[in-house]
Each structure stands twice: as C-alpha cells, then as structure tokens.
C-alpha cells in the first residue's frame, strides 16, 4: 500500500508499537495457559492480572470488577442479556437511546422478542439525550438503563453523570457503552454511578478482538460463557493472554498522555470543522459543537451521496466513513443521522472523519482540498443540485 491519510479512527486505530512489543513474548516465550499450575502458566496469569489492575485503575474500579472479553460488541451483548436475565424477577423493562450502536439496539430487539419491553429515549438535534424523557420513562419494573458514553458517528458526549444520578435515584442499573469514550475521556465509575461499562481495545491503539466489561461489585449478572473458571467463572475459555497484555499496555499508554493527545486531536478536529464549514457551501456539521469527542468530525453535504464521496477519497488515499445507506448495505441511511432529524437525502450525504493524535496539519489541508474538489465534482453530476440551482435562479 502506498502513502495514505487515515481518518477513520472511530472505526479502528493503528495498534501502538508499544502494545505490539508487549504482546510478542506472550506468543513465543510465555505461552503457558494461565490456568496451569507450573510457572510458565503462572507468568501468563500474572500478566493477565497486571493488565486487569491497569485497566481498573483507569476507571477508579477494583480489579475484580474488570472482565476481559472479545471486544465492545461482546461486552454490550453480555451486559444487556445477562443483566436482563438476572433481574427478570424485578421487572422486564429496559431503557436505552435511539442513537446507540447496533450492538446495544439489536440486543434490545433480541430481548424484546423474549418478553422484555424496551423504551428508546430520543435525542435533540445535536444528539444529546433528553433527560426529562429518560426520567419520565423510568417505571417500577425498569431494571436497566443503557446509554452510550459518546456516539460513534457524530461524536456527541452524553450527560453520563446526570444519567447515572437518575439511575441511582430510581434504583435502576446503569450500563454505558464507552467504546468511543474509554481512554479518550476521563471516566470515574463511582462518581458517575456507572454499574457496567463496555470498552474495546482497538479503539485506543490496542489490538482487535480485545475489550472488557466493567461490572460493579454487587451487580447480579449471569455467566456469559460456560465451561471454565476463567474471569471468575463468568466468561469461560482460555484467556487471550497476548491480547489482554496488549490491551493493558494500550490503556497505560493512552492514559499516560490523554490530555495532551486530546488537545492535539481537538486542534486537528477544529481546523477541519472550520475550514470545511467555511469553504464548502451547503454543508452542515452533525453533532454537538461543544460536547464532542476530540477526534470526531461529521458533515453532511447536500445534493451528493456518501459512498461516491468515500470512493473518491479512497482514490486519493484518504480513509474515511459515511452514514449513507450504500455503505451500510441497507436502503436506509444511518439511524443516528435520522434520529437527529436529518432528512434521508441529507443523511445519505454524510462524511465522518475521525482523527488521531498522529495525524498532521498537512494531512488536514490535503483532506480539505480533496473533499472540496470531490464535493464540487459530484454536485456537478447531481440532478438534485441542478434542480436547486435552477429554482434558486428562478427565485432571484
């Protein structure tokens, strides 16, 4: 592959060389099974426990509250299904939001088919959860509130502290999908009243196929995988030792320079937002301008379609993503963009650029120039733009 500009860090990130370095010995030297009694196994076990402590410390949690999983989707599935089962005696009502990741939404649909009732709370035009709607939706039989920490498409950061306080006040469990937020924002599970939290390693320069679920002590939750004593008997199966080591190292690294990294990312983000917003007509920034992940830029460009924009960017070596239907394999554009009130045709024309601290200003300049050129080219090909210009001419 030639030179390219990677602006899809919300999809996945480059694994940090430090994480790779930390992992390697656990493939070739310390390959023992952590459950084995001899020292080769014990050294693997020790590495797993060190990673667990590392992760726990970043959240203000206890290490026995961290359960390693195969990633964010698994953590979400586990949290929802197992909590729903464990608390079915209290009630069968679950509250979530309309802009959750499909790992939460589709799991909720699965639970609905099994007799649970799910209420999806709406968001405002910037994607912020309507807290009054949330409180009004809580009932005596509500067992779980699951709201994401920050949105993967538009980057909006939710009022997690307020949601946690409401959940606590009403005695309801609070789970948050923090896949986009963990290691990007400071999170304290006690102060924020978070009972369960999902995270994924490859979103913060850790290896793919790794993640964890935080489960507060005292929360009843069923085992997810059966057949062994790993993860306190709740997730059986030999641990992904090297992956867990890489996850722990990526977390250590991410938290060691989180502020500096976020500041740099926010600088790149704001530069992109300002230039695109100023230099490309008929566009709109999606998501909240202030309560926004430091790495997220999401624009809709009227009269054009997202997939053609992505292919054109790819030809110029720029990796980005879109909420258009054509990129999702369905006829509907992103449920998040529709939830913040965008009409279908404008949701189809969305572009998400997610930066990392390793990107440069020069890359931002090249990206803005490329987007400008491509949007203009596609508009000149668009019958919607032709109609718009024609009617604008008539109204003049």
């Amino acid at each position: 592959m030639g030179e390219f500009i990677y602006l899809d860090n919300a999809a996945t990130t480059k694994t940090a060389p430090e994480a790779v370095e930390a992992m390697l010995p656990y493939f070739t030297d310390f390959y023992g099974n952590p459950s084995s009694i001899y020292s080769l196994g014990a050294s693997a076990q020790k590495a797993v426990e060190e990673a667990r402590e590392q992760i726990a410390s970043t959240l203000g949690a206890k290490s026995n509250e961290i359960y390693f999983t195969g990633g964010g989707s698994e953590s979400d599935n586990w949290a929802l299904v197992a909590a729903a089962e464990a608390y079915a005696g209290k009630g069968k009502h679950i509250i979530t939001s309309v802009i959750e990741h499909h790992a939460v939404l589709h799991t909720c649909q699965y639970l609905e088919k099994r007799g649970y009732e799910v209420t999806c709370i709406g968001v405002d035009e910037n994607g912020i959860l309507k807290l009054d709607e949330l409180e009004a939706a809580i009932r005596p039989d509500t067992i779980l509130i699951s709201v994401m920490f920050a949105n993967n498409e538009i980057g909006t950061i939710q009022p997690v502290r307020e949601i946690g306080a409401l959940a606590k006040k009403h005695g309801v469990l609070f789970h948050t999908d923090a896949v986009q937020a963990y290691a990007h924002l400071p999170i304290r599970v006690d102060e924020m009243n978070i009972d369960m939290l999902s995270a994924s390693g490859h979103k913060f320069h850790g290896p793919k196929g790794t993640g964890f679920l935080y489960i507060r002590t005292g929360v009843k939750i069923r085992s997810f995988l059966h057949g062994g004593q790993q993860e306190r008997g709740r997730r059986a199966g030999t641990e992904n030792v090297s992956g867990i080591v890489g996850l722990g190292e990526a977390a250590r690294l991410a938290f060691s320079h989180m502020e500096e990294r976020s500041r740099k990312e926010a600088g790149l983000r704001d530069y992109l937002i300002e230039r695109i917003g100023k230099e490309i007509p008929y566009c709109r920034l999606n998501g909240d301008a202030g309560r926004r992940l430091s790495n997220n830029v999401n624009f809709s460009f009227r009269f054009i379609e997202g997939e053609s924009l992505l292919i054109s960017l790819d030809r110029k070596g720029i990796c980005a993503s879109s909420g258009s239907a054509c990129t999702s394999g369905s006829l509907d554009p992103s449920h998040v963009l529709l939830a913040i009130g965008l009409p279908h045709e404008i949701a189809h024309g969305s572009l998400r650029l997610t930066v990392s601290w390793e990107n440069t200003m020069e890359e931002m300049d090249r990206t803005v120039e490329a987007v400008k050129e491509i949007v203009e080219r596609l508009r000149n090909m668009s019958p919607l733009y032709e109609d718009f210009i024609r009617s604008a001419g008539q109204n003049r």
Partner: protein
C-alpha cells in the same frame, strides 16, 4: 468491490451534463433511497439518438451504470435503445456487486422514462414502452 470498468466509469463518467431543449428527459429513483438518475435524449427526425447526457445522485455504481447506459444508447435507434436492459449495462461494466444490481435497473428505467417523455411530447407510441413507475416526484 467494484470492477475496473465500474471504477473507470465512476472516475471518468461519459456524457455527464444536460441537453437544452432535449427531445426527452426522464428522472427516476428517489432521494430517500439515495439514488436519482436523470437522462436527457436528443433524438433526430429518423428516430436516432444523436446525443445522450445524464445527471446522477447516488453511489459509485449508480454513476457508473448511468455513464455506461448513455454510452450504450448513443447513436442507436429507439428500437435498439429499448433493448438496452439492466443486464446489458451490467455486462458492459463487467458485473456489479449483488447489492448494487438495483442501480443498473435504475439506469434502464431512466432511459425508458426519457423515451416515454419523448413519446408523450410527440404523440407516438413506442412498442414495449410503459409509463415509468418510479419517479422522484411520486415520492415526495
């Protein structure tokens, strides 16, 4: 995921544009689904398609099928243009991914819609041509 031909027609689309006082114009698809195609035809007195232009809002496959469809009907008689099916467009592009087959259907429909417009304007009947069923104006 796209063939080289599709990429070529997406990056260097043939016959993009409008035709002033076109003999027939057809617009199909709808913005809700993310695809709109408009085809302009310039047809001479002998029923030969002298020129054909298109404008498309849609994915890479939608642009490429529009471009290929205009190439296939240009210089042809109306009867020959009627034989340009979505299958023909797809074959000429060395195939499309299964989820994009509907784009080629849209190209066929756009040509038919433009021919229908031509037939309406001239009070003629083109064999095998039915009134276009999908039109952006029906959707809004």
């Amino acid at each position: 995921m796209y063939s080289d031909k599709v990429m070529d027609h997406f990056e260097n689309p043939r016959n993009v544009g409008e035709i002033e006082n076109a003999s027939g114009v057809g617009t199909v698809g709808n913005a809700k689904c993310g695809d709109i195609m408009r085809i302009y035809l310039d047809i001479d007195d002998n029923g030969i398609i002298r020129d054909c232009k298109f404008k498309t809002f849609g994915c890479g496959a939608a642009v490429a099928t529009s471009s290929m469809a205009t190439e296939l009907v240009k210089g042809k008689s109306i009867e020959e243009a009627m034989k340009v099916t979505n299958k023909a467009v797809m074959e000429a592009l060395d195939g499309l991914p299964p989820v994009k087959v509907h784009c080629s259907l849209l190209a066929e429909e756009a040509i038919h819609a433009a021919l229908w417009d031509y037939a309406q304007k001239n009070g003629i009947c083109i064999e095998g041509l039915a009134e276009p069923k999908s039109d952006i104006h029906d959707e809004n």
